[in-house]
Each structure stands twice: as structure tokens, then as C-alpha cells.
């Protein structure tokens, strides 16, 4: 026995300990992952041994690896073993590891209950301490319930070390097992007066956390805390108590007055406190008011100190050179702002000054304060200042924050502070010039909101939006500005809806139908198409009034020429709208040729004014007779289900949650039936792309006109949209307007005075203008609960929809064709002079249900200029997505990590995630790059073709297994004939093997059986005959069809 121990410890000498592991990792900087994986193997060996010392050492090393991001949950059981060691050294290691990696769903936790109970009652206080510390990190509801009593006993342990830990952990127990709060509370309260300051502090800590959730229940403790505040010398306790009183005083105002005295005493007696010293030593010297800046200032609010005074003190803090105090001062200021906005407003200069601070935290705080400080008078000035900051700001997060704040400030309480909406619109337009902002949709919604609600502004807004549309290429030119092109959504809609205000509708119509529009996101294109129709109606109306009828016909022709681009769109919404409108225009053209006046009727389609609807308007709609909204549609679920779901009220009473009606269980048969029905439905649905040979053929024959890449050159000039007025002008104009108003008012007053002069003495001048004096230039439609009177618009639209629906049905087949021909381009698109790309599918890796496809793209520079800043981007489909680094949006491009000198080629790899592999995928993408000499952005469109074949992996299969597979009956059958192939049979087989990743299972004379497997485990079996027909079986018919099509294509090419 003794020998064994000695031997064990000798063995142990040569095991790596934690220090060795750390040293080893530091020495293997190049192949760290590999080194760690060998270490993990060693650890696994060590964990298998009986010696607890070895195990503890291994667990200690695992704790370190966990910090580096390695999942060590597989060793959970070993951790429990080490926890249960009798030696403190090992126990401590075990509990540490457990606290780092155990959580509620770790299943071995339930094995620990008894061990922990034993440790809690251990005679050694440090065993108990270690157990309590560990438990505080991984306590579960079960553990809390089982151990609550043991812990409660420990709260009166003789050693303060244990008492304070037990008190503290009770909070965690309350959280997990709320029922324990009631019995434990008296003892907890007792601990507030514990002789040991540590225990006292722990009790205060716990009660403060509890009171934060529900202060009302702890009002009764106020006297006790009152006493503590006067007696305690512990900073932590004092801080917590002051915070607690901060939460209690709003509930009991009398408390505030009582607090003044002890607080003042505290302030004068705490010079020894290190905390006080630290916070105050710079500020406090000449200010004999609250020293704990953040805490006591917030307290001042609750006490009856005048806020004006508080703000004065805060100002001193904010002006301090210590950045921390400045920050805290601003933080406290924002609290005062909520209750006493007026008193803060006078410090606008200071806040604006903080906007210039180099520290982002302070700038963000100052921004927060600005929100509450604007008035009609200073809004323009503040926003102007902010706009300057927007220009200066580096870093998109801060700029985005500024943008949202500007919009927040302007739009708050129904644009209360905006007096000139022309100014606001131009601010919004200026904001669209921000590079790389993510808040395009925010700006867009503001534009829409203002244009709809402020009727007087529409003319101006339309003019601005038309210019935006005209310069759309400046917004969309760069891939990085994807976010901002949302603005075009608003611009297109406003121009269409309020087209009667347009000066030159024809020009806008042309702008909306540019081919470049097709590169915008689908939902924006859809709006473009719809509003092009509205514009068309307006244009027709104006043109038909003239005697010359050719102009109107030309307009129709323009629509007919341009719309087919959208009919081919991959986006259903765009496609649908475009084809409806195209048919409509064709019909109109026919009528025009017969000299029929159509303009009236066309514009009747879009007649009626759109009125804003109040958010509560829905309530006013009467419920149709016979409709009972409260009755169940299906059978209500049985009550028993919701009974075991107890309401999880922790400290406050929560309303019991309504259990959701669950779906009824469906039996297997029913499911199968439904599945069958769905399949049937899919088969009849033209929008489900099925692999039919005929459609394959169609796109091979389709003319390739659409696939000629259009290279558009975007000049990267700074985004100054010509012809747009600057918002600054408005500030001046506004000043003038106000001055005029003031002058008029004075005139009036003078008149009055003249009249009254005889009667009365002097009356002093009206002084600085007050808030109410400024009258807004435009009125906002602030919609209250009334329903709009005219809701005719909606009806009209509906009628139109129905009409469109009919036409659509006729066209559906046509669509389908286009859809396919759209996707049928070549794999690599060549751009005359510049370069060529060859996407290759190289490797497949599976990762749970989504699969990763690594695509190697070879970039070859065929021109003789240097290419740089290449950015690779692919329009994701539902099924396949380009993996982008964390934090980048779904439309961001990936930078190609190299530059290309002329004539050089290089390879870059891109990872895609693919969900379903049964259908081939074609992804559209663009490559943008800069040609060095011209320094302009060039663009190259390409398509990536993921064939089904590329998802197949050559897998050998034995003939008997193969036979079994065929017999199993799970496989669906399909066959294909290859026409015009005359090559030796073994060449044919070799070709299939090579190009389509099959392996030959067996070959008998004139036929051969072949096998392959997809990465998702679909079996694909082929029987190839000399007569060049292929019979095939697979468990996924769609996949099979696609693979066969691809095989056929391989042979049609040779």
C-alpha cells in the first residue's frame, strides 16, 4: 500500500502541472491548437487514473483551458469526483472548476447535493467556505430547495467568515427558490445588526438587491437602516444604504426630510473614509455639500433640496478635469432632467461643450442630455451643432448614435419643437450623405412621416426627393452604403404619391426606371415599380391635355421598354407588380393608338388622398355582426396542462401568465396525409421550382442577352447632391422670419401702446421672446383618435388589386419561364477586358443542419493595370449564404485579401453555408475593385453555380450492400437517355466517376452499377447501360433529377 502511494507520487512528478501547461502553450505559439489537443489527450489519460492527486491536477489544467475557450463539460463527472475529495487542496480545485463550467443544465449537478451538504456541515470552516463559494455560482432550483435549510443554519454560524458567505448566498437561493424568502427573512434582518461588519455588509447587500426589485416591501426596514447609516463606518454599507434610500424615498416622502440630518452628519464625519477621500479630494475643498458625488447628488433629488442647487453642484463636477467625475456628473444630471427639465436647460452651453470631449462615454452621456433640453428656440442651433459633429465623428457607432439622436430630438412629441419643416427635410437629406450608416430605414420613415403629415411641406419634399432619386447612383454606388439606400424607398414613394407637386415628372419617371434600379434590394424595387405607375398616370394626364398625342404614346413606350427588366426580377413582389403594370400599360397603349383618352381613367386608379390614421383608430372599427372575437376557433386545450405551470413570482406578485393554447396532437397517419397533400400542392404550384428536363432545356436555348454584364462606373466623388439646399440656410431664414414676426408684434404693441399711452404710464419692452411666441411655419397633422373621413383611397386600391390579380393569373406561366432563363447564365462571366473568375467548389464540411461550402475563386487580372481594394459580395439566397465576419451586415462585401498586379492570378476562399442540397444553387454576386491609375470603382457581375453534383462524395459500396439498398424500397426511381454519345463504355464510366463523384460498384458486360452519397447521406444509385441509358434510384427524387440533368449536360457538351 505504502509502495503504491510512493509510486503514485513519483508518477505524478512527471505529469504536467498547470505551470508546465502554461509554459508549454507559450512555447508553442505557432501550433497552439495542436499542442492543446495533445494536452487534452494527456488530461483524459490522467483523469482515468485512480490517484485523486493526478485527477485534481488534470482538473486544474482544464480550468485553465476553459478560460481559453475550450469546452470542458465532458469532464463534469471528474470535477465532481475531485470536489468530493477529503483534502482541502483538491476540494478547492474541484469547486473552482465547477464554478467555472457548471450551469443549470449540467446534469451531474444533481449528484452533488449530498456532497455539498456534507461540506457545508464540515468542521473545517474553509471546507464550508469553499462549498458556499462554489455553490453561489452554480446553484440550481433543486439545490436551492434541498440546501436552503442547511444554509439558513449557517447564517448563525459561530465564525463570521461563514456567516457572511451564508448571508450572501441566500440571495441566490431566494432567486432560485422564492419560497425560502419568508422563513429566512427574520434571520436576515437580524444579521443587519451583526457584530461583525463583514456580515452586516453582506446582509445590507442582500436586502438592497431584494429591495431593488420591490422597494415597497422593505419600507418597514427604514428605521433600522437609519440607525445603520449613523453607526456604520463601512463605505460599502453606506453606499448601499444611500442607494436603498434613493429607492425608498419616492415611496415615502417623509423619509426625505428625516434623512437630511444624518446625511449632513455623515458628510461631516467621514473625512477618514478612503472612498470619500478619493471621490471628493478634488471637488470638495471649497464646496461643503454632498461629497459622494454620484450617490448623494441623486439623493438630493429625493430630499427636498432645490434641484437648482443640485444642478449648480453638478456643474462644478462636470467642469472638473477628472473625467470620471465629469461622467458621473452628467449621469446624475440626466436623472434630474427627468424630473426638473427646466433647471437643467440653463446649462446647455456646458452640455454642448461636453459634446466636444475626446471621450466617447462622455459624449454619449451629453447626447442623452440634449434630448431633454431642446426647445423651439434652440432646436435648430443644437441640431446644427450636432450636424457638425456628424461630419467630424470618426467611427460608425458614434456617428450612428448621433444620427439617431438628431432624429429623436427632432421628432419627439409629434415634432413639437420643429417650426420649419423645410429645414427638417433638408436635414434628413443631408443625413443621407453619411457613409456606412445603418439607419437608412430610420431616415426613410421620418421622410415618409413628415411628407404625409405635414401637408404644406409636400411640394418641397417632392422636389427634394426627386433630386435624391435623380442622384440615386451616389447613394447606391458603394456597397458599403447599402443601409442608406433605404432612403430611396421613401423618395420613390413620396414622388409617386404626391406626383402632382412634381415640376418635371417625366424626368423623375425616367430616373425610376433606370436599369441600375434592378441592383437595389427587392422591397425598394417593388416601391419603385408601383410608384412609376403612379407617376405614369400623372405624366399621361399632363400630356393628354396637349394637342400632341405622340408624347403620351412615347411615355407608354418608355414604360413598356423598361418594365420587362423588373418582370424578370428574382423578387416575387417586384415581379408581380411589374407584370401587372406592364400589362396595364400595354392595354393603355392599345387604347392610345385608337385615340382614346385614357388619362382620366388611369389616374382614377390612384385617386384619393392618403390620410394619416391614428394608432387607436382600429378600435373605432365596429365589429361585424355575428363575429364573436372571444369564442374559440378550435377546441380549447384542456385545463390540466396549465396547472403544473406555476407562476414564477419571485419577490413581487406577477400576473399569472396565460398558457398558450397548444396545438392538438396529430397522429402519424394524419401527418402523412398532410405531407402527401402538401407535396401534391407543391407539384401544382408553378412557383415551386421543380427539376423538369423541359425547363432545363429552355434556359439553354434562351438568348444570352440579359447576361451581358453591365459595368457601371461610379465616381467616388463626395456625396454632395447638386441642387439641394443646405440646412444652414434655413437657420438664417428662420432667424429672419422670427425677427419679422417680432417686428410685427412690436408694431402692434406700439399701436396699442399709443392708444393706451394717455391712460397709463410706461410699459416695459417685451424682453426676450418666450417659448409660445414662436409660431411654427408648418402645421403637423397630429392625429388623435378620430378616423380619417376619407378612406376612399383604400377601397380604390383594393379594386385595383383585384384587377391585377386576374391579369396575374394569366401571366403566371410566362413568369416561370423567365425565372428560369434568368438563372441560366454561364458560370463565369467575362468582362471584356478586365478579368475572369472561376469558382470551384472545393470542399464540403458539415456543421449540424447547415453545411459549409468552401469556394475557391481564382482571380486573374487580364488587363494591364494594377487592381486593388477588391471586394467580393454575393446576394444571399434563402438557401445559401456567404459567411461574413461577425458584426457585418447581410449585404456587406468581403475584402479580397490581396491586390492583383497585371497578368497575375491568385486564389481566395470564401465559405458559404448551405441549408438544402437537393437543388442546384445559382448565386449572383459582384466584385468591386479599383483600377489603380484611374482610381475609380469598377464592378464585375458574376454568378456562382453550386451544382448538386458538388454535394456528392465518392463513397465506395460493396455489391451486396448495394443490392440490399436497392431492395429496401426506400428509393425513388428515375431514368434518362443520353443522346449522341459515342465513346467507349469505360470512358463513359470514368467520366461519370470523375465529373460526378460516383464509384463503380460492379460492372457486368454491357452495364455497370454505380453509387455515390450526398453529404447529407442521400444514397444515389445508377445503372448505366451500353445503350447509354441510365436508370437511377435515390431517396430524394429532386436531388436525383438534378444530378441526372447535370450528367446529361456533361455529355451534351462533349
Amino acid at each position: 500500500m505504502a509502495l503504491k502511494i510512493v509510486k503514485g507520487s513519483i508518477d505524478r512528478m512527471f505529469d504536467k502541472n498547470l505551470q508546465d501547461l502554461v509554459r508549454g502553450i507559450r512555447n508553442h505559439k505557432e501550433d497552439e491548437a495542436k499542442y492543446i489537443s495533445t494536452c487534452i489527450d494527456e488530461i483524459k489519460q490522467e483523469l482515468k487514473q485512480d490517484n485523486i492527486a493526478v485527477k485534481a491536477n488534470a482538473v486544474c489544467k482544464l480550468t485553465y483551458l476553459q478560460m481559453l475557450g475550450y469546452d470542458v463539460s465532458w469532464a463534469a463527472f471528474n470535477i465532481v469526483e475531485v470536489m468530493s475529495s477529503s483534502k482541502f487542496t483538491y476540494k478547492r480545485i474541484g469547486y473552482l472548476a465547477a464554478s467555472q463550467c457548471f450551469h443549470e443544465s449540467t446534469d451531474v449537478i444533481m449528484l452533488t447535493t449530498n456532497q455539498i451538504r456534507k461540506d457545508l456541515s464540515s468542521p473545517n470552516q474553509y471546507d464550508t467556505g469553499v462549498a458556499l463559494t462554489g455553490l453561489s455560482c452554480f446553484v440550481t432550483p433543486d439545490l436551492a430547495r434541498d440546501l436552503a435549510n442547511d444554509i439558513m443554519t449557517l447564517m448563525s454560524h459561530t465564525k463570521p467568515y461563514i456567516r457572511k458567505k451564508a448571508v450572501l448566498i441566500m440571495y441566490k437561493v431566494f432567486l432560485k427558490y422564492p419560497e425560502s424568502l419568508r422563513p429566512a427573512f427574520p434571520r436576515l434582518k437580524e444579521k443587519l445588526e451583526d457584530p461583525d461588519p463583514g456580515v452586516q455588509s453582506a446582509a445590507v447587500n442582500v436586502i438592497c438587491e431584494l429591495a431593488r426589485r420591490n422597494p415597497k416591501n422593505y419600507l418597514s426596514l427604514a428605521p433600522l437602516f437609519f440607525k445603520l447609516m449613523t453607526s456604520s463606518t463601512n463605505n460599502w454599507v453606506l453606499i448601499k444604504i444611500i442607494k436603498l434610500f434613493g429607492a425608498l424615498t419616492p415611496l415615502e416622502p417623509r423619509l426625505g426630510k428625516k434623512l437630511i440630518e444624518p446625511l449632513t452628519n455623515l458628510i461631516h464625519s467621514t473625512s477618514a473614509m478612503s472612498l470619500l477621500y478619493e471621490c471628493v479630494n478634488t471637488v470638495y475643498i471649497d464646496v461643503n455639500t454632498p461629497p459622494l458625488p454620484s450617490l448623494s447628488l441623486s439623493l438630493c433629488l429625493y430630499l427636498s433640496l432645490p434641484p437648482q442647487l443640485c444642478v449648480q453642484k453638478l456643474r462644478i463636477l462636470i467642469e472638473d478635469s477628472d473625467q470620471n467625475l465629469k461622467y458621473l456628473g452628467l449621469l446624475a444630471m440626466s436623472k434630474i432632467l427627468k424630473t426638473h427639465p427646466k433647471s437643467v436647460q440653463s446649462h446647455k452651453d456646458l452640455i454642448l461643450q461636453c459634446l466636444d470631449d475626446k471621450d466617447e462615454s462622455i459624449r454619449l452621456r451629453a447626447l442623452d442630455l440634449l434630448y431633454g433640453m431642446v426647445s423651439k428656440k434652440n432646436l435648430m442651433e443644437i441640431v446644427k451643432k450636432l450636424m457638425l459633429h456628424v461630419d467630424k465623428a470618426e467611427g460608425t457607432t458614434y456617428r450612428d448614435e448621433l444620427l439617431t439622436k438628431i432624429i429623436d430630438i427632432c421628432s419627439q412629441s409629434n415634432y413639437q419643437y420643429i417650426t420649419n419643416f423645410e429645414w427638417y427635410i433638408s436635414i434628413l437629406v443631408e443625413l443621407t450623405r453619411l457613409e456606412g450608416t445603418r439607419h437608412g430605414h430610420l431616415i426613410a420613415s421620418q421622410m415618409l412621416d413628415v411628407a404625409i403629415r405635414v401637408k404644406a411641406i409636400r411640394g418641397f419634399a417632392v422636389a427634394q426627393m426627386a433630386t435624391l432619386l435623380d442622384n440615386a447612383h451616389l447613394l447606391t454606388g458603394n456597397m458599403q452604403r447599402m443601409g442608406i439606400c433605404e432612403v430611396l424607398y421613401a423618395a420613390a414613394w413620396i414622388c409617386g404619391e404626391f406626383s402632382e407637386h412634381l415640376e418635371n415628372p417625366m424626368q423623375t419617371l425616367e430616373a425610376m426606371l433606370r436599369p441600375k434600379v434592378a441592383t437595389l434590394p427587392g422591397h425598394i424595387q417593388a416601391v419603385y415599380v408601383q410608384n412609376a405607375a403612379k407617376l405614369f398616370a400623372t405624366v399621361l394626364k399632363s400630356q393628354e391635355g396637349n394637342t400632341d398625342s405622340t408624347a403620351a404614346q412615347e411615355t407608354s413606350q418608355l414604360m413598356i421598354d423598361r418594365l420587362p427588366l423588373f418582370v424578370q426580377s428574382a423578387n416575387l413582389e417586384v415581379q408581380e407588380r411589374a407584370s401587372c403594370i406592364l400589362q396595364l400599360v400595354k392595354y393603355i397603349q392599345k387604347l392610345q393608338q385608337k385615340d382614346v383618352e385614357v388619362a382620366e381613367e388611369v389616374s382614377a386608379l390612384f385617386a384619393g388622398e392618403l390620410n394619416p390614421v391614428a394608432p387607436k383608430a382600429q378600435k373605432k372599427v365596429p365589429v361585424p355582426e355575428g363575429l364573436d372575437l372571444d369564442s374559440w376557433i378550435n377546441e380549447p386545450p384542456s385545463e390540466s396542462e396549465s396547472e403544473d405551470e406555476q407562476p414564477k413570482a419571485i419577490f413581487a406578485k406577477e400576473e399569472p401568465k396565460h398558457s398558450r393554447p397548444r396545438r392538438e396532437e396529430v397522429d402519424e397517419k394524419e401527418l402523412a396525409k398532410r405531407r402527401e397533400a402538401r407535396k401534391q400542392e407543391q407539384a401544382n404550384n408553378p412557383f415551386y421550382i421543380k427539376a423538369s428536363p423541359s425547363s432545363q432545356k429552355v434556359y439553354q436555348e434562351a438568348p444570352g442577352v440579359e447576361h451581358i454584364p453591365v459595368v457601371q462606373i461610379d465616381l467616388s466623388v463626395p456625396l454632395k447632391v447638386p441642387g439641394l439646399p443646405m440646412s444652414d440656410q434655413y437657420v438664417k431664414l428662420e432667424e429672419e422670419r422670427r425677427q419679422k414676426e417680432r417686428a410685427e408684434k412690436k408694431k402692434k404693441e406700439k399701436k396699442k401702446r399709443k392708444e393706451k399711452r394717455s391712460g397709463r404710464g410706461k410699459k416695459h419692452d417685451s424682453g426676450p421672446e418666450s417659448e409660445e411666441d414662436i409660431t411654427p411655419a408648418h402645421q403637423v397633422d397630429i392625429v388623435t383618435e378620430e378616423m380619417p373621413e376619407k378612406s376612399s383611397k383604400h377601397k380604390k386600391k383594393k379594386q385595383k388589386k383585384e384587377k391585377e390579380e386576374k391579369e396575374k393569373k394569366k401571366k403566371k406561366k410566362h413568369h416561370h419561364h423567365h425565372h428560369h432563363s434568368d438563372g441560366g447564365g454561364e458560370e463565369a462571366v467575362q468582362n471584356g477586358t478586365v478579368e475572369e473568375e472561376e469558382p470551384l467548389l472545393t470542399s464540403l464540411k458539415n456543421k449540424s443542419s447547415t453545411y459549409q461550402v468552401v469556394v475557391s475563386v481564382i482571380f486573374e487580372n487580364k488587363c494591364d493595370s494594377f487592381l486593388k481594394s477588391m471586394e467580393f459580395n454575393v446576394l444571399d439566397s434563402l438557401n445559401s449564404k456567404l459567411q461574413r465576419p461577425e458584426g457585418s451586415g447581410p449585404h456587406d462585401g468581403l475584402t479580397v485579401p490581396f491586390q492583383l498586379p497585371p497578368g497575375v492570378s491568385n486564389e481566395a476562399r470564401f465559405v458559404f453555408t448551405v441549408q438544402s442540397i437537393i437543388m442546384p444553387q445559382k448565386l449572383k454576386g459582384t466584385l468591386t475593385f479599383i483600377v489603380k491609375d484611374s482610381s475609380t470603382h469598377e464592378k464585375l457581375d458574376f454568378k456562382l453555380h453550386f451544382t448538386c453534383t458538388s454535394y456528392l462524395i465518392t463513397t465506395p459500396c460493396y455489391s451486396d450492400a448495394f443490392a440490399k439498398l436497392l431492395e429496401s424500397g426506400d428509393l425513388k426511381c428515375s431514368s434518362v437517355r443520353l443522346e449522341g454519345v459515342n465513346m467507349p463504355f469505360h470512358h463513359l464510366l470514368a467520366r461519370i466517376c470523375f465529373h460526378h463523384h460516383f464509384s463503380v460498384v460492379e460492372r457486368i458486360d454491357s452495364c455497370a452499377s454505380m453509387y455515390s452519397r450526398s453529404i447529407q447521406g442521400h444514397h444515389v444509385c445508377l445503372l448505366v447501360k451500353v445503350t447509354v441509358s441510365i436508370d437511377a434510384k435515390c431517396d430524394e427524387p429532386t436531388l436525383l433529377g438534378n444530378v441526372l440533368d447535370e450528367i446529361k449536360q456533361t455529355f451534351s457538351q462533349c
Partner: protein, 192 residues
């Protein structure tokens, strides 16, 4: 409540992580990366508070950090903690480390992560502040270390000897790599 305590160096390498709320390992690493990214781009003479960690917390949470020589000490806390109080706590923690390791430097944290954890456990427990008195903390840590030594007794002696030999033969003995000491002697809030 304290939600997490992170210590990492100027390059973002974690030296100690302690989450008081469960996150999976890869999420933990992401949080470390994000926090490092936020903290490292700040100058030394700006304030020690930071809002806007997107992964951990939310609007109620704040990062409070201190930068000592090569190490960042970051505490993620909610609004129930006093900002200056936590800054003070970090100072207490670092001073305690300095006492326990005798002039602490980054290497002590690298090679004795477990010991740093044991010290932290005496300061913060389950996300709540347990003890702020430095003497009390060091006393408890010392007692426990003594217990460990006495338990080691005979059986641990050979291991210690081997460990010493290993250290002797290696060209790089940790103490000799001077990454820089943690300068903690200034007990004030002024930037380091």
C-alpha cells in the same frame, strides 16, 4: 450585482475570466473580444466607465475598468453598484494581489490563475461584494494557503522538487521575463 469580471492583457489575451451568469464558452470568448475591442481603443486619460457592450448586459449594464501597465481589469456591473465604489474595489483587488504575490506582475497571473481565482473568491462571491477590507482578505487567503501546504506534506515534496528542477533547467524562468510590473502604488483615481 457584478455580472462578470474579466482580466486580459494589452493584446486581449484573457488572464482570468469569471462570469456570474452562464454563457457558453464560445460566447464567453466573444464577450472577451468585444470588451477588449471597446476598452483597448480608449485613451488612458479618459473616464473609466463605458456603456455599450452589446453582448453582455444591456442598457442597465456598464463596464467599469482600470488599466494597469499591461493588464486591463474589467468589471461588468448593473446599476445597483456605485461606479466609484467598483473602481475602488478593483483597486482593493489589485492591491491584494500585490500583497499576496509580492510585487505582482502579469506573469504571476499567467502562471497562477488558480491562486488569483482563490483571492477573487474572497472579494466577490456569486456576483456580490463579499469583503472590501484588504487585511481580512489576505488573512483568509494566507490561512487557506497554509492549509494547502500542510496537506501537501511528504507526498507533495517530490513534486515540488521536480518542479524546482524543471524551472532550473529551462532557459526561461518566468521571473526573468520582464513584461512590466503592475504599478499600483498610487491610491488615487488619477489615470495611470
Amino acid at each position: 450585482m457584478i455580472k462578470a469580471i474579466l482580466i486580459f492583457n494589452n493584446h486581449g489575451k484573457p488572464r482570468l475570466i469569471r462570469f456570474y451568469q452562464y454563457f457558453a464558452e464560445d460566447m464567453q470568448q466573444q464577450i472577451i473580444r468585444e470588451t477588449f475591442h471597446l476598452v483597448s481603443k480608449r485613451d488612458d486619460n479618459v473616464c473609466n466607465f463605458l456603456e455599450g457592450g452589446s453582448l453582455i448586459g444591456g442598457s442597465d449594464y456598464k463596464l467599469i475598468y482600470r488599466h494597469y501597465a499591461t493588464l486591463y481589469f474589467v468589471f461588468c456591473v448593473d446599476s445597483s453598484e456605485s461606479e466609484l465604489g467598483i473602481l475602488d474595489l478593483i483597486q482593493v483587488f489589485v492591491e491584494t494581489l500585490d500583497k499576496c504575490f509580492e510585487n505582482v506582475c502579469e506573469l504571476d497571473l499567467i502562471f497562477h490563475m488558480d491562486k488569483v481565482h482563490y483571492i477573487l473568491q474572497e472579494v466577490v462571491m456569486g456576483g456580490m461584494v463579499l469583503e472590501t477590507n484588504m487585511n481580512e482578505i489576505t488573512t483568509q487567503v494566507d490561512v487557506q494557503n497554509r492549509m494547502e501546504k500542510s496537506e501537501g506534506g511528504l507526498s507533495a515534496a517530490p513534486a515540488r522538487a521536480v518542479s524546482a528542477v524543471k524551472n532550473m533547467n529551462l532557459p526561461e524562468i518566468p521571473r526573468n521575463i520582464n513584461i512590466g510590473d503592475i504599478n499600483i502604488k498610487v491610491p488615487s483615481l488619477s489615470p495611470f
